[in-house]
């Protein structure tokens, strides 16, 4: 039986690892992502996601370099993304050591690209990153372009859209939870789990051990976090131990 995953997210701006808080990235954590990856790779992390959140597209080449260097010490799956808006760049990231790709805005601007990437690398290689904001307690609307542009679409409809354009996994972040330590947006996770049979990855807001358990209880196949894992030594091991104790089906090395 497949195990429930713990994913470390590394947010990269202009080649440096940064902290993410409501999609602002002003605080540099590491100047070199390789240190973060080396530690995560040792500390029971099941997977690593690297997001390029730089302000503009010219950062693509620097990001490829980071992926290439990091992949040399990364012996867990590495998912990379940010500005993946054509098949050529997708292939370049894979060639540089990424195992999966994470796409967001392209599902809005040119969804055909998602489909082309899936036809080439397979659906299992393509993660749809979906950022939402609440309209009220129960409704979520999807934003793209690093949270700046509203699509006007409901989360449920967007999941169907991404799935029909090649997505094999759904990575959900609520912008208002991002970096604010209050736990995942459970409403979004429940909606996603209900809408699709693709695996769901919860992201945004996890800070305490119990937050990870809440994400899995809501039905997510994987729970992800960024900031917390950089600041607390061995935090990932601690979370794994906690989840194991609570009876979740997690991997320990």
């Amino acid at each position: 039986m497949i195990k429930q995953r713990l994913i470390a997210v590394i947010v990269v701006r202009d080649g440096r690892v940064v902290q993410s808080e409501k999609f602002k990235h002003d605080h540099v954590i590491h100047s070199d992502a390789i240190h973060a990856v080396e530690s995560f790779s040792r500390w029971d992390v099941d997977e690593i996601v690297m997001l390029n959140v730089s302000k503009d597209r010219t950062s693509r080449e620097v990001f490829v370099d980071v992926v290439e260097r990091v992949s040399k010490v990364c012996f867990v799956p590495l998912t990379a993304g940010g500005f993946v808006d054509d098949e050529g760049y997708a292939a370049q990231l894979i060639k540089s050591g990424a195992d999966k790709l994470i796409l967001n805005t392209v599902f809005f601007n040119s969804p055909g690209v998602g489909k082309a990437i899936a036809d080439r690398f397979g659906r299992q290689c393509l993660v749809a990153s979906i950022d939402v904001r609440p309209i009220n307690n129960s409704e979520r609307v999807v934003y793209v372009d690093r949270g700046t542009v509203s699509t006007g679409k409901k989360l449920e409809d967007w999941i169907v859209h991404c799935e029909s354009n090649g997505a094999g996994e759904i990575f959900i972040n609520n912008i208002e939870h991002d970096g604010d330590r209050r736990g995942y947006d459970i409403v979004s996770i429940l909606k996603a789990v209900d809408k699709t049979t693709l695996p769901i990855i919860a992201f945004g807001g996890a800070f305490q051990d119990k937050h990870f358990a809440e994400g899995l209880e809501a039905g997510a196949s994987a729970v992800a976090a960024a900031n917390i894992f950089h600041y607390k030594e061995m935090a990932t091991k601690q979370v794994k131990r906690y989840l194991k104790r609570k009876g979740f089906n997690v991997r320990e090395q």
């Binding site: 039986m1 099941d46 997977e47 050591g97 899936a118 299992q124 196949s221």
Partner: protein
């Protein structure tokens, strides 16, 4: 001095991850892109991240298929297919919309994972691999999977290891019983256990 391990580069594999992992195990690797480069290779990895049809078209485009099949007829040569690379070793796949054949090196057919209701598809994450041969029990443990299809062998003797998808069993490692192996999981992305398994292949 052993010769470098070949990695077949046909445009659909995570070749970098495989070469990085071999390097971490202490083995040099060399990309193989054409027939001539196959000559001095003793061991070859056929990686694969992708869709079956695209992979068949890409590997056919390299013009290497016939030579590769002949190469495997020499049983001192060792071939390892990983993930989609493993699926290519089989006769064919249900995934193929164009009815392409696989390489037909292992008597198996690739089918969509039989999906129990509670399971999500694709099957992504770490899952236990149980080797049938007691000699390999030290290799039992969690490995990383990312797939929607699996190989179903005609004969039980071609199954090296099992894993579970929900309560259903599938073959997670297969062989032709001689010199060809296939892993559905990614040893190159399965930390220490995976690297140990790759080392085993390199040492064969």
């Amino acid at each position: 001095m052993s010769s470098p391990i070949g990695i077949l580069d046909y445009g659909c594999g995570n070749i970098k991850s495989v070469s990085n992992a071999l390097k971490a195990c202490g083995y040099d690797s060399k990309l193989v892109t054409n027939v001539a480069e196959l000559d001095d290779i003793e061991k070859l990895v056929l990686p694969g991240v992708g869709a079956f049809d695209y992979a068949v078209e890409s590997i056919t485009a390299t013009g290497i298929v016939e030579a590769l099949i002949r190469w495997t007829e020499d049983e001192s040569k060792m071939l390892l297919g990983i993930c989609l690379g493993m699926q290519l070793l089989c006769r064919g796949s249900e995934e193929s919309l164009k009815n392409y054949d696989g390489l037909g090196l292992i008597d198996a057919y690739v089918k969509k994972l039989d999906s129990p209701k509670e399971c999500r598809l694709p099957n992504i994450g770490w899952s236990e691999v149980i080797f049938k041969n007691p000699e390999y029990t030290q290799n039992n443990g969690d490995y990383y999977f990312v797939h929607s299809y699996g190989a179903y062998c005609d004969k039980e003797e071609n199954v090296l290891a099992y894993s579970h998808y929900g309560d259903r069993k599938f073959s997670s490692a297969i062989t032709n019983g001689r010199n060809i192996y296939g892993y559905q999981f990614h040893p190159e992305k399965s930390q220490k256990k995976g690297l140990a398994l790759l080392s085993n292949f390199a040492k064969l």
